[in-house]
Amino acid sequence: MQSWRRKSLWLALLASWLLVLLGLFPLLRLAVPTSPRAGAPQGWPRWLDAELLQSFAKPGELLEDGPRPPQALRGGSCNWGACFDTSKCRGGGLKVFVYPAAGPVSETRRKILASVEGSRYHTLSAAEACLLLLLSPDTSTGECDPVPPQWDGGRNHLVLSLHPAPCPRTFQLGQAMVAEASPTVDTFRPGFDVALPLLPEAHPLRGGVPGQLRQHSPRPGVALLALAEDGGRWHVAGTDFSACPWDGRCEQDRGPKQTHPGATLPNATFCLIPGRGPDVLHFLQALQAGCIPVLLSPRWELPFSEVIDWTKAAIVADERLPLQVLTALQEMPLTRVLALRQQTQFLWDAYFSSVEKVIHTTLEIIQDRIFGPSAHPSLLWNSPPGAILALPTFSPSPSDFPFYHLQQGSRPLGRFSALIWAGALGQPPLKLIQAVAGSEHCAQILVLWSSEKPPPTGWPKTAVPLTVIDGHRKVSDRFFPYSAISTDAILSLDAHSSLSTSEVDFAFVVWQSFPERMVGFLTWSHFWDEARGGWGYTAKRTNEFSMVLTSAAFYHRYYHTLFTHALPKALRTLADEAPTCVDVLMNFLVASVTKLPPIKVPYGMWHQEARPPPLEPGGPGLRQEPQPAAQNCINQMAAGFGHMPLVSSRLRLDPVLFKDPVSVLHPRLLHEAA
């Protein structure tokens, strides 16, 4: 009885479980289908007869299209193709003539004139120019210029004004292009006009203040947002800005307000700039401060928008969605914040920090339009060192430059050309040629013969081709971009230099890791001389260095192009006059491009054996203390660049087992290290 009862109980239990299980499923199925059923019309219906649908156009329909005549030029809608005559720029490329100023010249105008005249595009003759630059009337003089003589309806003219014009134009712009500070989007003609930044009155001519960013990532605890206020001030919002609205209307809760008097720079991660006109000035401030500009529906065209990809450095958001923007800023991943911050600094340093850079960028944009297909690619404009320092005439392919190997996933070519500069010399530098030719990485040896005497004939037989080039007896010639140079790397040598093959090999391998820098053996360091109130440099051995001597150094061949085509002529002349200056100039050039120190590799003590002093006593005195004239040259260079670009380094790159007791203990390693 008991067992029956128990059994039935068990049965009932089992059955009820089954019931529950079986019953639940349909219930579940009833519960779940509500979503598929609601979602059933999800998507566009799959038509049964979709296969039978006709194409939207019958084959050959276009045959019936009527032809359209070439468009006649309509007034007011100038574009580059129609209103600019590039035939004048054929051959020599862009040549710029600037109308001389009549009457007193204001400070800003003087800066612009100096910048144009310092440009490699400047010409003194209006006849050979293909771009005529007309400076807009000045604020201070208040005079409105009459129509210039070669006006010709404004054809090939660029009307440039760094500040909004104070008086109405007395003439029709016609076909002239306009380069003005923050033009409104309504009148701006993309691809024809140029949008300039609105510069403060006291903007420096050259060099300029470097960006304020001293570190890559924002400091912990720094304010997220700074708001632009009238009068060039910033209101740094605390971390809690829920109480404070956007467009400066919040008057009640300003809390510990940190407004700075005058035009100080904001200290925050993002800088909020309303899109109205008077706030334009804030934009550059934010850029300089490394504070990511957040522009709310700007009504003005962003500066140089034709070439600069502003999405990489600023955020242009819709002013109607402030809360969404705020959330987006708060949640922005650190990676993007880092990238935006660094880009603001790069752009500031490359295009905005001085009047000269702004003017040169403007001319570079016009030059790019003339170049058409061989203009700067977007990469050259938007990554360091920037388009002014990356000449598109050098190569159409970014991977030929020393700067873009990472972005391009490329590597510099695996060999080098030795360029031996032979000034006053009777005999070929046999030992040096043997040592260099012995390197497995050497592709060719070029001897630049710069002596009055004809080159000797007894050149040694080497494994690599040896070519003698006749130089022009100018020191700056050693940095001419000779077409014979076939490799990315150049080993620049003096006939007096003395190097061993293993030194050359090691230095070249190091250069391959740093193709944008100079890798050298002998160094100088610069210092600020308090007593004389100027820069000085010394060849004494110190704990740091900032220059390497080009009498024995590896660098990229692009620097020859840059040296010859981008440096102001005055500086090159200076170098020709004082030969030691040429080293300083080359180091200035590379440092101003890379913003990094050169690299030193060990010299003359490789095998721990006695070696002659690095340079023969009869050499150009590179180990001696520079002469006063040469000391002066560094100051002239610094003035020419507008700042001191040299950066000091405190390290030397040695072979991994260099001077290592272990390599002494293990002969095999010593052998490998050598």
Binding site: Q2, H216, T311, A328, L406, K600, R650
Partner: protein, 679 residues
Amino acid sequence: MCASVKYNIRGPALIPRMKTKHRIYYITLFSIVLLGLIATGMFQFWPHSIESSSDWSVQKRSIRDVPVVRLPADSPVPERGDLSCRMHTCFDVYRCGFNPKNKIKVYIYSLKKYVDDAGVPVSSTISQEYNELLTAVADSDYYTEDIARACLFIPSIDLLNQNALRVKETAQALAQLSRWDRGTNHLLFNMLPGGPPDYNTALDVPRDRPRRYFLLSSQMALHPEYREELAALQARHGEAVLVLDKCTNLSEGIPAARKRCHKHQVFDYPQVLQEATFCVVLRGARLGQAVLSDVLRAGCIPVIIADSYILPFSEVLDWKRASVAVPEEKMSDVHGILQSIPQRQIEEMQRQARWFWEAYFQSIKAIALATLQIINDRIYPYAAISYEDWNDPPSVKWGSVSNPLFLPLIPPQSQGFTAIVLTYDRVESLFRVITEVSKVPSLSKLLVVWNNQNKNPPEDSLWPKIRVPLKVVRTAENKLSNRFFPYDEIETEAVLAIDDDIIMLTSDELQFGYEVWREFPDRLVGYPGRLHLWDHEMSKWKYESEWTNEVSMVLTGAAFYHKYFNYLYTYKMPGDIKNWVDAHMNCEDIAMNFLVANVTGKAVIKVTPRKKFKCPECTAIDGLSLDQTHMVERSECINKFASVFGTMPLKVVEHRADPVLYKDDFPEKLKSFPNIGSL
């Protein structure tokens, strides 16, 4: 299952209370259960006609069943579009206010057939392409069927072909859409017919074949002025330029659209485009050019001679990389302009043109998605796709590295570094490390990560007194990855990770290491170096700690690096590497080396000759077998990480960094870092 087991346990306790007379009760219960079972079964297996029929009606419908809408002749016509519209004036962003994940929501009006008063259809209901387009939109993440949540509206009225459009009636049809509102937030697609739809099989461009013609023009309906110019070009440059026109004497049955003629020579179109390097796209009847897509597909570089032509997707696509724009006025110079383009750039442009075609134009779906992405980027600019993502072909994307710390910048020395000591319970050794590290001039803070959950760190009073702030962080779990956590306490950019038993590094060595880091802030700067090697016999990677001439990794037992890499290690480490390291309690340093090399594309910097952290005197005599297993484990790590990263990111270099005057013949007391150089 769980419940029945419980019952089993309780069962015996219940049963004694049951009584015999309850038998009836049990039987009743049993029958009810049985009935229930049967009923359930019936329900289960009964055909569910309601559901399937609803499926049928929604998913599988015929276009002929589409509801018909009659448009009265006097129904309102929408006002003309405002040509000065801008995104911030005419687009209503408020509708996009509540879209999650920075994605716009798109609504598609259901398909209707519009007829006029006389019952004549306004247009064909829908074309094959428009149906494809709407299907692509509906299948994408953008689609919503909730009209109230949508921010963008796509009418199902087919406007693709202007030729077939009855403009006024179509406008009326648009105006009566439920959310039309003068067209705000509505997206209309209008395309030009491309080539004949059946020719793609014939076109698979052989890449390396030399192209016969330098410049080719294949358009048929051209203005005589252009024709004259083209003829003059051909006359001047001979064979290199080919100008084609409509064929006049074709026999019946050959579709005229697939043939082009030059004088009496007949060419297959569009195959002939593959024979040319550059293909002219001239101003035709409309600005939008069907020939452009044919040209792109053939891998020919378009030469755009149409001044006000806005190229497709030009807002995001950099057409300068894939085409040549020649002003109409300079048409006669076109040959010279093209001739001046170097061969390498031509190849680059061909590749780019091909990539644009494949990524954005080759299917209706690609076109639809690119369109929506552009609008999405406008509305959520802070989440927009970058220039590189739009424009770089995949081959470039794979090889390229975008260094997160790309700005050349030497941080000021004054900032100093934060030392992070990971420790478990070696308090004595830890205190020695703290004392040693605190002697480094640039140290600005010391952070001890206490990884022992079972033991409290020593009392405050017991810690060594040092000149910089000392913080102790207690962790929740004993994990190796705690060493690389981006603690809020780290205020400097430079981080020195140091083990609690590294006491042999001198103050000079550490200070110099920091100076080196300042010059290479995007790299790992460490002391003992290690190398990875390819083992040809085993066909896999091998870990090498022998004293070789090369370095590809540094040990993080003492290494300087940017604190951003802590963030990357903790939150962006690919695959399961982080958990794998924590589970194996090994290789966290190799993982860090991989991570940094992968994201920066750069090698480590080994500083000073130091090779070992522990007992530099002793060689590998003690614990040889232990060393062996250690090596095998480390090698396994390298192979594991290389497979997760999908590549070997480590870079091998032959240099290390020493002070400028290291081992120079120079008075030691004048050197900045004299106390360097022991192994």
